[in-house]
Structures are given as structure tokens and as C-alpha cells.
């Protein structure tokens, strides 16, 4: 269940309260997000839509602990992340957040296997255990045969699937996808979306996704619209309660 009025249940996986983000450009303050509230339960698949500059990516960055809000709080699985130190936030990201970017952002000098293994290098897993996890993640995304390939030897769709394997390999609490199909043709985009839906349906993953594409957004359980930093409307096939921020 997704709520945006700020009165969600205490058990929500993600709780956002009164979130503001203001950037300073020269002498001008630009309010990107204003008083945003949000509750997302475990296993939800949420799409954020909105025009360019509406604050979608900023919201995703804040939820992922990549950036810090000007005001307000974000709690994930009981951890209040907005007041964490930079080091603790990095640590928290490693354990709780899986990131999928529009441009895949694989390390070009590493093979698919090595790219997927990266998050596991931060754990205490042995080499053999890391290998097992990586092979499992790559087989989930259907690239078990492409482990030794470098990103330049893969298609865009395959690269994005490697990026998804990298995002899930450490079994994070939730996945953040920033325009995951933005750089793909329709067929590859459909494959990637099928994969993300499988992660939600079969593996119970919680996914928050930013997209411009209504066809992609329709695959989510819930779609929220951001406009000028405010959640102005919401809709979903499952009759989600939603409303604009106060």
C-alpha cells in the first residue's frame, strides 16, 4: 500500500515526512521538493512520473541516501537516514539499497561477473560464497552465459540486466530505478520491465522507479505524479489511497 498524506501505518517500509529539498543556484533558491509525505510498504512497486525538473530523480536520490534533504525525515525499515553521518549513510546504502541507472553505469574494465561482484566485496563473504551469489544473480537475469563478457561486448538490454544483477546480488531492502528503460529499445525495455516485475512478484522486492514512459509506469502497482516538487495525484490498479502533500 502506498500513501502520500503522511498518515501511513507505523509498519511501512519507507516513511517520508515533510521532505523539502532546496538547491541554491547563484543567489536564487530553487525548491525542488516541498513538504513531501510518502509511505511505501514492503513489496510495493511504485512508479514516479512527472515532467523534467519536477524532482523525480532528486526524490530517488534522497530515498537512496545519495543526497540529504533540506528538511524532513526519511525512515527505512526503522532506520532514520536523514541524520546519519556520511560514512554511516554509505554503509547503510551498501546493506539496504539496490541502484539501477538509466545508463547502466557498469565499470567498463570489469567483466559482467566482476561488476556484479562489486557490492559483495564490501561484505565478509568468502570468494566461493561471492561466486555463488554472483552466479545466482546473473542466472536470475538470464545472463549466466555472459559472465566473462565485458560491458562493451553486451547489448544495451544485457548491460541493464547486468546492472540489475548488481543491484540485487547483495539482497538489498529495496531497489531504486532511475529511468531503467530510458536508453533501451522497446523490446529490450519490455524484457527489463518483465525482469523487474518478476523481482517484485517472485522475490518480494520493493521497487521505486522513476520514468517518463507511461507504458513503463503502467507496469508498476502504483503510479505517483510529481509536479513542481509536490505529489499532486496518484493512481494505481489496486485502488491505492493517495493525495497531494499538505
Amino acid at each position: 500500500m502506498v500513501r502520500v498524506e503522511g498518515n501511513g501505518a507505523a509498519g511501512s517500509l519507507i516513511q517520508v515526512r515533510g521532505l523539502d529539498k532546496t538547491y541554491r543556484r547563484g543567489s536564487e533558491d530553487i525548491d525542488v521538493l516541498q513538504g513531501l509525505n510518502l509511505d511505501v510498504d514492503k513489496g510495493d512497486f511504485v512508479a514516479f512520473m512527472g515532467p523534467s525538473g519536477s524532482g523525480k530523480t532528486t526524490l530517488l536520490n534522497l530515498l537512496g541516501g545519495l543526497d540529504v534533504p533540506t528538511r524532513g525525515t526519511i525512515s527505512v525499515a526503522g532506520d532514520e537516514i536523514t541524520h546519519m553521518s556520511r560514512g554511516k549513510l554509505t554503509d547503510w546504502r551498501a546493506r539496504h539499497v539496490g541502484l539501477i541507472f538509466q545508463m547502466y553505469n557498469l565499470i567498463p574494465v570489469l567483466t559482467a561477473f566482476q561488476n556484479v561482484e562489486l557490492p559483495l566485496l564490501l561484505t565478509k563473504l568468502s570468494k566461493a560464497e561471492r561466486r555463488t551469489h554472483v552466479e545466482t544473480a546473473l542466472s536470475v537475469v538470464g545472463l549466466g552465459e555472459r559472465m566473462r563478457h565485458f560491458p562493451r561486448q553486451l547489448s544495451g538490454g544485457q548491460e541493464q540486466r547486468v546492472a540489475i544483477a548488481r543491484a540485487i546480488v547483495a539482497d538489498p531492502t529495496f531497489l531504486l530505478c532511475d529511468e531503467p528503460t530510458g536508453d533501451l529499445d522497446r523490446k529490450s525495455a519490455d524484457d527489463v520491465m518483465d525482469l523487474i516485475k518478476r523481482l517484485v512478484q517472485e522475490y518480494g522486492k520493493t521497487v521505486l522507479m522513476v520514468t517518463h514512459d507511461p507504458l513503463v509506469a503502467r507496469q508498476a502497482n502504483t503510479t505517483l505524479h510529481l509536479d513542481k516538487g509536490v505529489l499532486v495525484e496518484a493512481g494505481g490498479r489496486q485502488g491505492v489511497v493517495a493525495g497531494s502533500a499538505s
Partner: protein
């Protein structure tokens, strides 16, 4: 070590740049080793000298002679144990490029004053009995392929001898106690020299070397010698062997300063080149570093990766030191006679490795610190 693969992958991503950067380190370190051994070679005289030896020369200049008659007078000064005298011969063996130092020695006292230059007794005794005998340093023997028993002609043009050739029989070989001892000298007998030079040189020697009982007495004895000949036609200047050796080197100019200046310029340039290379390398993959941070790599790990790369390049550049280890002995052989023996010591190599690591660290630290401090969202925005 689990991050080693990541560091390695980034190191080899631009192979041409890596090779050129390592190459510049290698060239700089080779030069460092070469300058180091040249400096060592020139200052070796001051390092291998004995603390209980004094050198007495003519106060005007070492090329002016002093009377042999001073010997017994100096020997009577309290604290003096032995005294010997030498003349510079300045001869040519076959061709002027075959330079090596030849000394006219005083066979009676040579071994007492220079006990570290060892000649087997049987060879020494043969030398004493042979007026035309010569004792030759092991390096010079090796250089010319001489053997004991060989007869060697040496031509000289000094001491009023116009193109006169002296014939010598090699009766023995001396070796130094320590590797840095000079093994290039050629010694022959004062008596042979004396009977061949014009009368005005017969009672004149080049310099005395005095062995004293106690190094603490050196200032007193030096003063006593020089005072004894004050206002005489042959005033003397006596100093410790160390001061004499340093003065000798200074005749070539301030070698140490020259070498330090060149070395500093080389390493400063290397620092700028490698620092710039590392900065470019980091700037090119800002986005990748942002991704690493985004997926949970701590700031200090990012710092470590970049410093690891710059240190690895520096260590790889130590191939220049290995090259020096192979090439400098060849160079030393080729320059024999023109330069003192060039020895690559463990100390020079260790300093080279330390210098490489310092430059490696210094060239990597600024880009690494910048990458460490960079905010994730800023880094991710860079393409």
C-alpha cells in the same frame, strides 16, 4: 587483496598511458641511481679514509713538491707512528685514454700506513727485491688483462722527462679490505723513480701520509708539522685524510650540489607529470567512482584505490633501478680511469624505492583526496 583486481583493471585500462608513465618513473629512477653512484664515487675518498691518517702537502699546491728530508723530522713529532711518501707519476699506458693513477711509493712504510690495501707477503717481498717492480690494484689488472710477471711500459712527460718510457714488472696485486676501496692504483718504487728523474726532483716528494697513534691528536700534530716549516721555502699544509679527500673532490666543482640540483629537478618534473596523469585518469572516471560510492564503497576505499594505482605505478617504475643495477657496472667499466669506480649499493637502491614511493604518494594524494570528498550525486551527474 579482494580490491586488487579493481585496482589492476583500472591501471591497465589505458595501456599506452600506463607504459609511458611507468617509463617516466623508470627513467627518473635510473637517473637517480646514476647520480647517486656518481656522487658516492666522488665522495668515497672521504668515506674510506682512516681517521688516524694525516696528509701533508706543499702549502702552495699539491703539484708543488716538498723535501724528502722532512720525513725523519715529522716522524719525531710525538704521536706520529708511521710516515710514507708518494709522488704522482701521471704516465700513459699505450694510449692516453687508458688512464689509471700511478704512484711512486715508499716501500718501507707503505703497508704500515695503508694496512687496508692488502698485498700477499710473497708478492710484496718479490716487489721489494725488484727495483722495476710494481704492485697493481686488482681492478686495473682485470681491466687490462695483466698477469703477475707481465712487463708493462708506461710513458711519462712530467718531472722534466720528455716522453720517457719506464718499464715495470708486475710483482703483485693488492686488494682493498672493503668493496669501496680503490683498486685501480699502480705502485712502483721510489728508488727506481729517483734514479731516472733530473737532480732537482731527486729529493722531492709529492706528499706525505702520516699515521698517528690517536685520532684525537690530529689537530695538534697537524699544527706541529706545519709550524715546523713555517717561513721555510717549502711551507706545508697538513690536514686529516678526510679533509684532504674532500678538498680533492671540490677541485671538480661542487659535485654534490650539482647532483642534488639535477635530482631535484628530475623528481619535481616527474611529480608534475605523474600528478597530472593521475588527475586526468581520475577525472575521466568520475562517474564510475560515483557509482562505486553509490553502491556503498566508503570514501576511504576510493582514496585507497587511487593511491594504490599511483603507488603501483611508482613501484613498477623501479624497473629503472634494476636497469641501473645492470647498466651502471658496464658504464663503470667503460669509464674506467675517467671516473672512480661506480658501485650500485643497496643503500642507493633503497633510497630509489623510497623516492619512488614518495613521488607515487604525492602524485596520487590530491586527485585521490578530491575523489574521496566528491559527493555521490555530483559524481553521478558527470558523464
Amino acid at each position: 587483496m579482494k580490491f586488487g583486481r579493481l585496482i589492476w583493471a583500472n591501471l591497465v585500462r589505458k595501456k599506452a598511458r600506463l607504459v609511458l608513465t611507468i617509463g617516466s618513473f623508470a627513467v627518473a629512477l635510473f637517473l637517480f641511481a646514476l647520480l647517486g653512484v656518481v656522487n658516492d664515487a666522488f665522495s668515497r675518498g672521504a668515506n674510506v679514509v682512516s681517521a688516524n691518517r694525516l696528509v701533508t702537502i706543499n702549502r702552495t699546491s699539491i703539484i708543488n713538491t716538498i723535501p724528502l728530508s722532512y720525513r725523519d723530522e715529522i716522524l719525531r713529532i710525538p704521536g706520529v707512528r708511521y710516515i710514507t711518501h708518494d709522488n704522482w707519476f701521471g704516465g700513459v699506458y699505450q694510449d692516453p685514454k687508458n688512464f689509471f693513477p700511478q704512484f711512486v711509493i715508499d716501500p718501507e712504510n707503505q703497508r704500515q700506513v695503508f694496512p687496508e690495501l692488502i698485498v700477499p707477503d710473497d708478492q710484496w717481498n718479490a716487489f721489494l727485491k725488484d727495483r722495476q717492480g710494481a704492485i697493481v690494484g686488482a681492478d686495473t689488472m682485470k681491466r687490462f688483462g695483466w698477469k703477475i710477471g707481465d712487463r708493462i711500459p708506461i710513458r711519462t712527460t712530467i718531472y722534466g722527462l720528455q716522453d720517457t718510457t719506464f718499464e715495470f714488472n708486475i710483482d703483485g696485486v693488492y686488494h682493498g679490505e672493503k668493496p669501496e676501496d680503490d683498486q685501480t692504483q699502480f705502485w712502483f718504487q721510489w728508488e727506481y723513480f729517483k734514479e731516472s728523474v733530473p737532480d732537482r726532483f731527486k729529493g722531492q716528494i709529492g706528499w706525505y701520509t702520516v699515521r698517528i697513534a690517536n685520532p684525537d691528536d690530529a689537530p695538534r700534530i697537524a699544527k706541529a708539522i706545519d709550524n715546523a716549516y713555517l717561513n721555510s721555502p717549502y711551507e706545508t699544509k697538513t690536514e686529516t685524510e678526510s679533509a684532504f679527500a674532500e678538498g680533492w673532490v671540490k677541485q671538480f666543482g661542487n659535485i654534490k650540489f650539482l647532483i642534488m640540483s639535477i635530482g631535484t629537478v628530475v623528481f619535481f618534473t616527474l611529480l608534475l607529470v605523474t600528478g597530472n596523469t593521475m588527475a586526468i585518469s581520475v577525472r575521466e572516471r568520475t562517474n564510475e567512482l560515483g557509482v562505486l560510492k553509490a553502491i556503498g564503497f566508503p570514501d576511504r576505499a576510493v582514496l585507497g584505490f587511487i593511491l594504490g594505482e599511483s603507488m603501483a605505478i611508482a613501484l613498477a617504475g623501479c624497473v629503472g633501478l634494476l636497469l641501473a643495477l645492470v647498466a651502471i657496472p658496464q658504464l663503470s667499466r667503460a669509464m674506467a680511469g675517467l671516473l672512480p669506480p661506480l658501485l650500485v649499493t643497496a643503500k642507493t637502491l633503497a633510497y630509489g624505492v623510497i623516492a619512488a614511493l614518495v613521488v607515487g604518494f604525492a602524485s596520487g594524494i590530491l586527485p585521490a583526496y578530491g575523489a574521496m570528498r566528491m559527493r555521490v550525486v555530483t559524481a553521478l551527474r558527470r558523464v
